[in-house]
Each structure stands twice: as structure tokens, then as C-alpha cells.
């Protein structure tokens, strides 16, 4: 996998580069800001771009805007946005696109999962930080939710994170078939339209969790 990293904190940038390197991926470029990032990415055609939400000069939403620009011009590019803390405001718009991920920065220390997530995003899947999902799930107290079992809630959460059924099965240490049945029951109980396309599935789940109509 070819990766481009845009992160203003030097230590973090270099640490991330080393991590990708250790795991066998190729870091083709690193940047300290979002200036001219789109052009550079167009030039280098990586599989994945990892961005910080906040970068110079204003440290507000440079990364998000760059991500939006990248997604607009290169829809097949995997874009992963890293954030200091849970900011749903910025990620909301972008989750609509396939091949987009939003993680908290400390997530990078769980190397295995982080790499899996990166590969998933580069392949066109979705990723949403578990803490963000936990927020959304934890906030739901509406009808239908009360009928879910604990396991079903877990599966829902992992689905929202963008994991495939296989990945969910792997995480929960249960069989694929069990996962599938959980998923089916979830969709019935929560009245979510089924979809084979993972991305659309994630969207549907998220939409349900956030209480808005799926896009």
C-alpha cells in the first residue's frame, strides 16, 4: 500500500511513517500542512492519505477541507482523518463517501487494528472510531433499542465502525454465521434496509443511530 501522511506534529508524523514502514507499506511522502496536498497526491497516486483534522495555519479544519477536496477529485482514494478528540461536526459530511475513515489519534497505538482499518479504507470501505460510535450508540434510548441484546449492540457498534462481517466475527471470536444472523435480526428489529454493499450498510446504521434518514 502506498501512503501519504499529512501531519503537522513532527514526532507524530515520523512515528506514523515508521509504523507504516514496519508493517510493510510504502510511505511515498509526508507533509506538515495541507498546502498543495491535492496536487501532490494527484501526482503521486497513493492508495491512502492520512490527514490530521487540524493543521496550520488556523488549526481549525484544514485537514477536513483537504479530505473533502481529495474525495471530490479522486473518489477512489482512501482518506483517513485523524483527530485529537471526538468531533462529529467535521466527520459528518465525509462519511457519506466510501473509502473514508475517521479515527482518534490514540487509535494508532493499536497497531493491528489500525493497519486493518487503513487497508479497509484504502480498499473503499469505511471506518469510524469506536469511541465516536460508542457515543452515538450510547445516546440512543429510543424504541427498538431496548429490545436489543448486549451482543446485538456490540455487533451494531462494530458495523457502524465499518467492519465487515468477517472482521466482526474475528473481533468477537464467533463464527461468521452467528454474525450474519445477528446482523439480520438487528436490521429487522431496527427497521434498517439491508444492503450487501458494506458502505451503504454503514451509512444506514449510522443514519439510524443518528436518527436521520439514510442518504
Amino acid at each position: 500500500m502506498r501512503v501519504v501522511i499529512a501531519e503537522d506534529q513532527v514526532l507524530l508524523r515520523e512515528g506514523l511513517a515508521r509504523l507504516f514502514d514496519d508493517c510493510g507499506h510504502e510511505v511515498v511522502a509526508t507533509r506538515g500542512d495541507a498546502d498543495g496536498l491535492v496536487a501532490m497526491v494527484a501526482d503521486l497516486s497513493p492508495d491512502l492519505v492520512v490527514l490530521d483534522v487540524r493543521m496550520p495555519p488556523t488549526f481549525s479544519d484544514e485537514g477536513v477541507r483537504a479530505a473533502a477536496d481529495l474525495k471530490a477529485s479522486m473518489p477512489n482514494l482512501g482518506v483517513l482523518v485523524l483527530s485529537q478528540h471526538i468531533e462529529t461536526v467535521h466527520s459528518v459530511g465525509l462519511i457519506e463517501h466510501p473509502g473514508f475513515g475517521y479515527l482518534l489519534k490514540d487509535r494508532v497505538l493499536e497497531v493491528g487494528e489500525f493497519m486493518a482499518t487503513c487497508e479497509r479504507v484504502a480498499a473503499g470501505g469505511s471506518a469510524l472510531d469506536p469511541k465516536v460510535v460508542a457515543n452515538l450508540v450510547g445516546g440512543r434510548r429510543g424504541a427498538g433499542f431496548a429490545t436489543l441484546s448486549e451482543r446485538e449492540v456490540e455487533v451494531l457498534g462494530l458495523m457502524a465502525q465499518g467492519l465487515t462481517n468477517t472482521a466482526i466475527a474475528h473481533r468477537l471470536v464467533i463464527s461468521d454465521r452467528t454474525v450474519e444472523s445477528h446482523v439480520r435480526r438487528l436490521f429487522v428489529k431496527l427497521d434498517i434496509p439491508e444492503s450487501a454493499n458494506e458502505h451503504r450498510r454503514v451509512l444506514a446504521v449510522l443514519a439510524h443511530l443518528r436518527g436521520t434518514a439514510p442518504g
Binding site: R18, K105, D106
Partner: protein, 614 residues
């Protein structure tokens, strides 16, 4: 009103000459008459003459061509030269055979007729030295006065009425052919009528006049009234010292009143002067009478001439003095000076309202303006304002103190706000340093450890396990830092108040219903609201045993209203050291209001109002 030139005094040489001449003449007159007539008389007449001359000179000093100035000088000089000097000449000279002593004698004793005419003319020309422009009474005055005084003079000087007054005892001009008595009485009648009509005309003019002219006429009318009141005592001139003093004062009253009026001296205090004069006269009469009655009455009880009677009478009269004076003063003010009376009453009414709490001190200026508007002229109004201010001095002082207090409070409020803002800035800085700085560094350390782990062959080895544990520590530290930073200032607040409150709700163990606008407010306001909600929720979780919580933020105009409610046991109070003190202080520091709606068994609602401007 014709405005005469200049306000300054221009005493020209001519004036000094006249004054000096008058003084010299009188000096000579006194010297000549001293001892030959009652000394008091000499002095009194001299004073009268000089008063007239001085008044005339002073009038001319300010109003160079004022006719009354000339009239007063004429009156004074007539008195000085003809009457006093002539009398002196006659008194000293008759015995010594000085030439013309008899003529001087006659002249001296007849000049009063002319004086009467001059006075009549003064009445008519008052106060600006010109004849009135309208009126049906005054055209009679001058002819009557003029002709009257001449005829009177003719009758007097040729008759025998003057005999007792002459040194020689016999009128040299006495004539049997001239109908002296007739002339005298006709002239006297005419002159008196003229003088009375002149006075009446002045009164009529006063009633019709406005402003300055009216006040000036009041001076003169007052003086004439005084003269008329004292006049009946003339027959007792010889018997009572008291009468002599009164007469002397009164004689000088007319020229001085004329001067005061023309110089516009204290024009707006005339009513006050009149009412006070009447007041003290009435008081004297009433108390004097009361004293006499008491002495007699008590004397009957205790025995005539007893000291107890006198002492008791004195005591009772003294006690009666103040209330009587107040009562009389109020009624006289109401009679004589309606405007002033009402104005003072208005202010008194306002002060009473103030005491009862029906009004506030700041209204004092409006009240004084309105009250002074009761006066009938702008000058009177201007003169009344300081008096009213004196009366309302307490209220004015209150206004000043309250303004000062308000100013101080504002300063305190401003400094409080500054402190709050400084604290807020400090927190943001700490949060930024903690969260962004330290946290980022921790992630970097973690990555470095991961790298080393990788280099050393993964987590299967012993070293790998140690490193794995280290990375876990790092992750935990990051979480802790995040919590600490959130405790100081949650990062989610950067997204806005509503997301931060939703985050708070998620982390609470109970269902929390959030209702907040998706708007942004100044950073310190959002932080304050967030922490108010935080402390409210904490307090509810700790003490209320509630099952449902609610946080509601609503904007009402310039204010943000935050309500944190629970359905617990109720009975919450702000206690020292309790969590609610923190909320109360925080709200107060933002210049807001905080209250608790809580009754036992009905849950608790904390209500905080903050201004949402910056």
C-alpha cells in the same frame, strides 16, 4: 421696558458734587438747628434728605437719564436746602436778626406742599421714568397733584395755619383778601386725591404688568402700604419713642424702595419680604396680646404681680412661638406668594413620596424643574431653583450616592468579568498545552515504543511483553490526560455548546434530555453554561436520587437561560462548600442571576440566566 445703558455704576463728577452739596447743606442745617428743636427731629430730617439725594444719585449712576433719579434728588435737595437749612437759618437767625430769617422760616414750613407734588410725580413715573402708556386713572394724577400742590401752597402760605410752626409766631404773608382756608382745603384735597390716585394707579399697573415691571411696582406698592400703615401714628410722634423710630424708618422707605426697584434689587424676594414683614408684625401683635392676656389671667389665679404668673406666661408664649409662626407662615405664603408656596409644597410632596418608597431619588431634578415652573416669570423660576435644591438636598445627595454606588458596582462587575475571562483564557491555554501538547507527545512515545517492539521481534518475546505493557500505560495516560483536559475545559466545546452538552449527557449514568440551540456563543459563555450543567448534573446524581435529568438552554433576547432539572427528592439549597455555591458564584461572576426552584418531593430545577453578549 427700556434697558438703560450698562450695569456698572458710573458716578460722574456731577453726582459727587450733588452728594457733597447735600451733605454740606445738611451739616450746616444741623449745626444751625441743634438744640433749638428736638435733636431727634434734626437727625431724622437730615437722614430723609440725604436718603433721597443718595437714592437719586444712585439711580442716575446706573440709568443716566432716569427721571425718577432727578425727582429724588429734587425732593432731597428741597428738603435739605429749603426745609432744613431754612429752618436752621430761621431758628438761629430770628433771634439774631439775620436777613431773611422770616422768609426762610415760612419757606421751610411750606415746602412740604411741593414735596407732596414731587411724590405724586414719582408715583406716576415709576418705575422707568416714563409716563404710562395706558390706563384711565393716571392722567388725573399729575394735574391734580401739580395744581393741588400749588393751590395748597398758596393757601398755606397766605393763611394762619402755619403760625404755630413759625419761630416768629406769625405769618408775614398773611393776607385777608386771599381765601386762604379755601385754597388750602381745595389744594389739600386735590393733592391728597392726586397722591391716592397715583398710588391706586400704581397698584392697577402692578396687577396688569408682568415679569420685571410687576416686581418693581411691587416694591413701591409695598413701601407705600407701609407708609399708609404707619401714618396714623403721626399724632403720637411726640409721645412715643417707638413712633418716632417707626416714622423715621418709614420716611426713608420710599426713596429706598424706589432705588431698589429701579436697580432691580432682589425683585423676586419681594413677596418673601412682604410676607415675612407681615408675619413678624402679626406674630408680635398676637404674641404680645397673648402675653398680656396670660399675665392678667394668671395674675388673677396666682395673685397680681406674682413671679409665677410672669414666668408661666413667658414660658407659654415661648412655646407658642414656633407653631404659631409656622402656621402663619404657611397661610401668608399661600396668600402672598402662591407660586412659591405651591413649588415648596410640590417638593415637600416628592420628599414624602420618597420616604414612603413611592418614588425614587433620581426624579428630584424633574420635580424641581416642574415645581419651579409654578413661578410666573423666568427670573423668578431661576431664583426659585436654588431654594428648591436646598429643600431637596437630601434627595440630591441620595442621587449622588446612588450614582457613585452604581459606578462602583459597574467597576466591580467589569473587574469580575475580566477575572473570569482571564481564568477562561488560562484554562484554554492549559487545555491546549495538556491535550494537544502532552497528548501528542504521548502518542509519539507510543509509536516509538511500537517501533522498538517491531525491531525486537514483536510481542512474543519477554522484551516485547514489557514494551506491550509500556504502550498500554501510554494509552491509559492519554485517556487520563483527556479526562483531565475535559475537566478543565472539554475539547468538544470547540464544536459548540449543544455538542458538548450531548457529550455530557452520554457520559452520565442516567438518561439526560438535552434541549439546546445549535448556535455558537462567546467562548466564556459556552464554558460557563457547560460547567453549570456539569455541576448541576453532578449535584443531581449525588444527592437527588433522581431517575431522569433534563438540561435546557434557551435564548431569551440578550440572555441565555439554563435549566437543569431532576425528578428527585427536591429540597436543594445553596450551602457553603456545596456544589451549588460554585454554580452561584460562576453565574454571579458573569453578571447573571441564579435561583433554585426546589421543594421537597417535587424535584429540583436550577435556573441560571447569563447575558450571551460579550
Amino acid at each position: 421696558m427700556r434697558h438703560h445703558s450698562g450695569m456698572g455704576l458710573h458716578l460722574r463728577p456731577a453726582h459727587w458734587v450733588v452728594l457733597l452739596a447735600a451733605v454740606l447743606v445738611e451739616g450746616a442745617a444741623i449745626a444751625l438747628s441743634w438744640g433749638r428743636e428736638p435733636r431727634w427731629d434734626s437727625v431724622v430730617y437730615a437722614v430723609y434728605a440725604l436718603a433721597n439725594v443718595s437714592a437719586g444719585v444712585l439711580v442716575l449712576a446706573r440709568h443716566p437719564r432716569h427721571r425718577i433719579g432727578w425727582l429724588l434728588i429734587a425732593t432731597g435737595l428741597l428738603q435739605a436746602v429749603v426745609t432744613d437749612l431754612g429752618q436752621g437759618w430761621a431758628l438761629s437767625g430770628t433771634a439774631r436778626g439775620w436777613p431773611g430769617s422770616a422768609a426762610a422760616d415760612l419757606a421751610a414750613n411750606s415746602a412740604w406742599a411741593i414735596g407732596g407734588g414731587l411724590m405724586t410725580a414719582t408715583f406716576v413715573l415709576f418705575p422707568d421714568g416714563r409716563l404710562p402708556r395706558s390706563g384711565r386713572v393716571w392722567p388725573w394724577v399729575l394735574p391734580l397733584g401739580g395744581i393741588g400742590s400749588v393751590v395748597l401752597l398758596a393757601g398755606w402760605a397766605t393763611g394762619d395755619q402755619v403760625d404755630p410752626l413759625l419761630v416768629g409766631g406769625r405769618n408775614p404773608l398773611r393776607s385777608d383778601t386771599v381765601p386762604s382756608q379755601l385754597l388750602y382745603w381745595v389744594g389739600f384735597l386735590a393733592l391728597t386725591t392726586g397722591m391716592l390716585l397715583g398710588a391706586v394707579a400704581m397698584v392697577l399697573r402692578m396687577r396688569r404688568a408682568k415679569g420685571v415691571e410687576r416686581q418693581q411696582l411691587k416694591w413701591m406698592v409695598f413701601a407705600v402700604a407701609v407708609v399708609l400703615v404707619v401714618l396714623p401714628s403721626a399724632p403720637f410722634y411726640g409721645s412715643f419713642v417707638f413712633v418716632r423710630i417707626a416714622d423715621a424708618l418709614v420716611l426713608t422707605a420710599l426713596p429706598l424702595a424706589a432705588l431698589a426697584a429701579i436697580w432691580r434689587y432682589r425683585l423676586y424676594d419681594i413677596e418673601l419680604i412682604v410676607s415675612r414683614t407681615v408675619l413678624y408684625l402679626a406674630l408680635t401683635v398676637v404674641l404680645g396680646g397673648l402675653f398680656a392676656a396670660l399675665v392678667v389671667g394668671l395674675g388673677l389665679v396666682f395673685g397680681g404681680g406674682s413671679t409665677i404668673a410672669t414666668a408661666l406666661s413667658t414660658l407659654l408664649v415661648t412655646l407658642a412661638f414656633r407653631p404659631l409662626r409656622r402656621w402663619l407662615q404657611r397661610h401668608l405664603d399661600r396668600r402672598f406668594d402662591r407660586g412659591r408656596y405651591t413649588a415648596m409644597a410640590d417638593v415637600a410632596g416628592f420628599l414624602a413620596d420618597l420616604r414612603e418608597g413611592r418614588s425614587e431619588p433620581e426624579r428630584v431634578y424633574d420635580v424641581i424643574s416642574a415645581a419651579s415652573g409654578r413661578m410666573r416669570s423666568p427670573e423668578a423660576r431661576a431664583a426659585m431653583v436654588p431654594v428648591l435644591e436646598q429643600e431637596a438636598s437630601l434627595a440630591i445627595e441620595m442621587v449622588r450616592l446612588r450614582a457613585e454606588l452604581r459606578h462602583q458596582l459597574e467597576e466591580v462587575r467589569d473587574s469580575r468579568l475580566r477575572i473570569v475571562e482571564a481564568a477562561e483564557a488560562e484554562r484554554r491555554r492549559i487545555e491546549r498545552d495538556l491535550h494537544d501538547g502532552a497528548q501528542q507527545r504521548m502518542v509519539s512515545i507510543g509509536l516509538a515504543l511500537r517501533h522498538v517492539q517491531h525491531e525486537l521481534g514483536g510481542s512474543a518475546t519477554g522484551v516485547g511483553q514489557t514494551l506491550e505493557a509500556a504502550v498500554r500505560e501510554v494509552t491509559d495516560t492519554i485517556d487520563e490526560l483527556r479526562d483531565i483536559a475535559r475537566g478543565i475545559r472539554p475539547g468538544v466545546l470547540d464544536d459548540g455548546l449543544a455538542p458538548a452538552l450531548r457529550d455530557l449527557a452520554h457520559r452520565a449514568q442516567l438518561p439526560v434530555a438535552i434541549e439546546a440551540p445549535e448556535l455558537r456563543y462567546p467562548k466564556d459563555v459556552e464554558t460557563a453554561v457547560y460547567f453549570i450543567a456539569c455541576e448541576g448534573v453532578t449535584n443531581a446524581l449525588k444527592h437527588s436520587g433522581a431517575t431522569h435529568l433534563g438540561i435546557e438552554v434557551r435564548q431569551l433576547g440578550p440572555r441565555l437561560v439554563v435549566r437543569v432539572s431532576d425528578d428527585g427528592v427536591g429540597g436543594a439549597q445553596v450551602r457553603d462548600g456545596g456544589g451549588l455555591v460554585g454554580v452561584s458564584d460562576r453565574v454571579a461572576a458573569h453578571g447573571g442571576r441564579f435561583r433554585i426552584e426546589s421543594s421537597p418531593g417535587h424535584g429540583t430545577t436550577l435556573v441560571a440566566e447569563l447575558s450571551c453578549g460579550s
